[in-house]
Symmetry: C2
Subunit: 362 residues, 2 copies
């Protein structure tokens, strides 16, 4: 089921548990499902990991008994009740004295439960330890993201061949999702966005029953999941003729996107890439219409570290997978966004998305 | 966008804030997105509510500025950074002294941040307050769930008309999801499960490229989201001929499902309904093969309170929406599950799912 070998998984866990000494902890408790997937290979909807360096315990419930044994090389513990109770009993059984946990991935309540069950155990909050490991992708992961990106672009191309004026946003979204599945995706990476006319001014519009009419914008933001890995692409099309003002907006966003891509290289900060995108829009007097970040990491989750935003000082590294997606939005008029998935390389970046970015008229 | 009137939303908030006096708190902090949706009408992916009884503050980021004003009647605050920082500054500004929060929906980290910013404010953990309100559905909500269930059944019927032996699990799943979208669903309520042959023994199988072959089982577990509300249905079909042992398994699960439905009425506990399902399977010597709960509540989320399991003492009330889905799983052989969505009525329950449950041979 998994595309990973057992040694890949063991290496990932070693990269984490090597930090236990510095944290003065005997074990790492992992509750975030994408991190359980990344470190343990398990893709079910209920799981937890307890990693001591010597032992890797994976907790799930009876529904996943067969699946987990196919997917994971860990020592599996099937819990009949809440996993956190079973985890606490194993912390006791293994006589662990200090356990590091993911402070932004455990609920206040789960933390209280472990603390109440084991008052003598020191619980050590750690932030983003697994997320930092996940930022830099292996060759296998990059290959899978590439497959996801290519499938996504093929799905858009096939779906647009079915496009007819006055088709509803919902019907086009249905067509897109269908093509992804037929091409072999696990599913979509997020709810497909299809917005037309003035609804393109909503950055996260849900598709509606509205007809896609002529002489308007059509924005599509879509991503596939392939072998667990996400892709993400936005294209804004013209249905018929656009007025000069809207065409100028398109040019501004495209230049902004190209400038951000140009700024991408190992050592550059995320904030500097974001700045490059904003600077171009400022030249067009449109920087105030750009109301979100320039991009984000992606992988097992659609939004991962780093965030390509004003305040993120993360320095880019070879092997990071991120999106570049500036956009401008004018309420009541419309919005334009152009987004690619890219990989940071030794000297700059590789744009994985094969779909063209010149304005397409449908 | 929302199917709810402003007074519906205000009533929901009143039903929650009426509890503030008993909790000795000045305000309720709501961070769980489905609860923000339920109480504030907002469907975006980043939101928080602070409810004082007099004031309803809804926090989100600039991407949702236009959408939130269309969806919500609350006093909207657009935050440029993390919402929790903005929430803390408003707790201070409103001079709140004690704030109730959802203990199982706030992360350890967010709790620390609020506490560090406002050391003098008492933070009061509360469990499942909004979830308890959401258990009993209004007439409008039941109408929407009914629409979701009917759409889901229509999608299965249409997809099965396209079924051909040797079709892959993935292609059937694609067909199902497509039909849902074309019929007007927002999307799927969860990743559609299509499993055939011995893979039906995995309760949560992902569809694969495997062909669906003759003389085997075919299990489909699917749900739609319509106007935000989920449906959930499982049917197990025969592709060609099944052996007598498998047919006996089917009969056992169907009787078990009918017995659970028979046991459903206001005042009965969830545990008693679960027991009714298990008892039938015990008669067949198959109770050990039933490795999950009998069902779960559903609504804005696919899994909500109550849990129809061994240990849930919740008493059923008129207006609850739950699934009834016993199943048996034999590793290496196969699994059978039959699931309907039902509403608890004054005297028993109404099965919303119109799809037949006799074994269908494809």
């Amino acid at each position: 089921m998994s595309i990973l070998s057992q040694s890949d998984l063991a290496n990932r866990r070693d990269n984490l548990t090597v930090r236990l000494r510095e944290l003065k902890a005997d074990a790492f408790l992992i509750l975030a499902l994408p991190n359980v997937h990344y470190l343990g290979g398990f893709t079910g909807s209920n799981g937890a990991l307890l990693l001591t360096g010597d032992r890797s315990l994976l907790f799930t419930d009876p529904r996943y008994q067969t699946q987990v044994s196919q997917e994971s090389d860990c020592d599996v513990k099937i819990a009949k009740g809440p996993l956190i109770t079973e985890v606490a009993s194993w912390i006791k059984r293994l006589r662990l004295k200090a356990v590091a946990f993911e402070q932004n991935r455990i609920s206040f309540d789960e933390h209280c439960q472990v603390h109440a069950a084991l008052p003598a155990v020191r619980l050590k909050p750690v932030s983003g330890a697994v997320e930092r490991l996940r930022m830099v992708k292996s060759e296998t992961e990059i290959g899978t993201i590439r497959a996801s990106v290519h499938l996504n672009s093929a799905a858009l191309e096939q779906a647009l061949r079915q496009f007819k004026p006055d088709m509803s946003e919902l019907d086009l979204a249905a067509e897109i999702d269908y093509r992804m599945r037929i091409l072999g995706a696990d599913g979509t990476a997020f709810d497909t966005i299809v917005a037309s006319g003035s609804r393109t001014a909503l950055p996260h519009a849900h598709p509606t029953g509205h007809s896609i009419r002529g002489n308007q914008l059509l924005l599509v933001d879509m991503g596939a999941r392939v072998a667990g890995y996400c892709s993400d692409m936005t294209r804004t099309h013209a249905v018929g003729k656009l007025n000069p003002k809207t065409r100028r907006m398109y040019r501004a966003v495209l230049e902004s996107q190209l400038a951000a891509i140009e700024a991408l290289k190992p050592g550059a900060t995320c904030a500097s890439v974001d700045r490059a995108a904003r600077q171009v829009l400022r030249g067009y007097g449109m920087d105030k219409l750009f109301i979100h970040s320039t991009g984000h990491g992606l992988g097992l989750e659609i939004h991962e570290a780093p965030r390509v935003g004003r305040k993120d000082g993360t320095r880019l590294e070879r092997g990071m997978a991120i999106t570049i997606e500036p956009g401008v939005y004018l309420e009541g008029v419309g919005g334009i966004r152009i987004e690619d998935t890219v990989i940071v390389t030794e000297t700059g970046c590789e744009i994985l998305t094969p779909t063209g970015k010149e304005l397409v008229v449908l």
